[in-house]
Symmetry: C2
Subunit: 215 residues, 2 copies
DNA sequence: AGGTAATTCGAACGTTCGTTCGAATCTCAG
DNA sequence: CTGAGATTCGAACGAACGTTCGAATTACCT
């Protein structure tokens, strides 16, 4: 009963093919995709389990085989989305040494993922406060890690260029610039992430770098 | 029946004192205040009419004497909040001529009002997509006016300083920086709006002004 | 003090909510 | 083909939802 994890199911002597993700995981991923779409359109509270049932083509009761509550469903969507963006960022930062370039990579990575997964990223940013207790703290940890990475990049920039600006305000302003995009970005008008990342990067980096240097 | 407007009530031969706001308007304002608090905390969809009843100390049915639906209640809150901020902005811009100073006034006005009315401003920004049809279009008009003012200020700055940057991206990035504040501002850590407005203004204006000038 | 309109309320309406449960169906190794 | 576990479903649960209505109460003018 309930929703078994991949691990338990595999260990339950149902080990199959090998590398290929099992049926359970594939179906769960499909449901998460459809749910993301519905949450994006109607909001978490505004979306009903019956909406999710309709969107995913599975019966209302059938959904509960894959997760134990609506809240956990939102958690799974947010965790997967946030984990992926952090993981991709880390991979892309490895090749770069210059602090300014690192910040530009940070912005590009964020905007690219945002525009390629608009719905999931809107659900992540717009429904950031609805999770409670355990769900909330686990997600807060990822959020904090992402925030700390950005702080580190900016402190690095300050150090190597001898700059002086309030890191906290700068980081949070940058997040605001980037996350707000879900309220206005129109693919037909605003186009690809690369030019957007360059323009936002220009505004932010010039703003932060053309200030007075340390004594 | 329903909720009479101030105008109709006064014309109904109940003309009183004069300038003083009547009982009806005062009570309505109280309800709006309490509702703002609840919407801020639980979100529009997450807040029930019974929550609003409890918060305002009025019976569930009694609320409907002042507005005909939960949606109209949100509309009243958002319209009043947005109208006020636009009106205050216009008044403060009248005294200023320098384009850079005008942009700084814009930022200061936004942040001051935001921090002095955090709950209402969160409801305005976070529940921006829930209103439908007539409510939505009327609010969109105010939003558009506010947006156009900011565009005009930046175009003025570009003109007088001979700058070159994408206005649309700059305006929307600025809005992002400012509006995102509802997700992170902590009065004990981040203090008063004036230094915040100066720091955000520094980042944004330097970013936009230190670019290459026109040919 | 009396009377009329403004204001408030208890109780209920029909609907939809998230979740549960036991039975039906499907999948696949033996 | 068979049996056992994995998966799906129809039907129902009690609770909570937004809204309505007629009666009760209050406030104010004459």
């Amino acid at each position: 009963m309930g929703s078994p994890s991949t691990a338990t199911r595999i260990s339950e002597r149902h080990r199959r093919a090998a590398a290929a993700t099992g049926r359970y995981d594939r179906r769960l991923a499909e449901i998460l995709d459809h749910a993301t779409e519905v949450f994006c359109e109607k909001g978490y509270e505004g979306a009903s389990m019956r909406d999710l049932s309709r969107a995913s083509g599975m019966s209302l009761a059938g959904l509960y085989y894959y997760f134990e509550s609506k809240e956990r469903l939102l958690f799974l969507i947010q965790k997967h989305t946030f984990s992926t963006i952090v993981q991709r960022l880390k991979a892309r930062l490895e090749d770069v040494a210059d602090p300014e370039q690192k910040v530009r990579i940070f912005i590009l990575n964020h905007l690219e993922y945002f525009l390629a997964n608009r719905q999931a990223m809107k659900v992540l940013t717009h429904e950031a406060e609805v999770l409670k207790n355990g769900f909330a703290t686990e997600l807060a940890a990822i959020k904090r890690e992402y925030y700390r990475i950005c702080v580190k990049l900016l402190d690095e920039l300050k150090e190597k260029r001898g700059l002086e600006f309030p890191t906290r305000i700068a980081v949070l302003s940058l997040f605001g610039m980037m996350n707000w995009i879900y309220t206005w970005h129109n693919p037909r008008v605003d186009g690809d992430p690369e030019p957007l990342a360059r323009e936002m990067g220009d505004i932010f980096l010039r703003g932060v770098m053309s200030g007075k240097a340390r004594r």
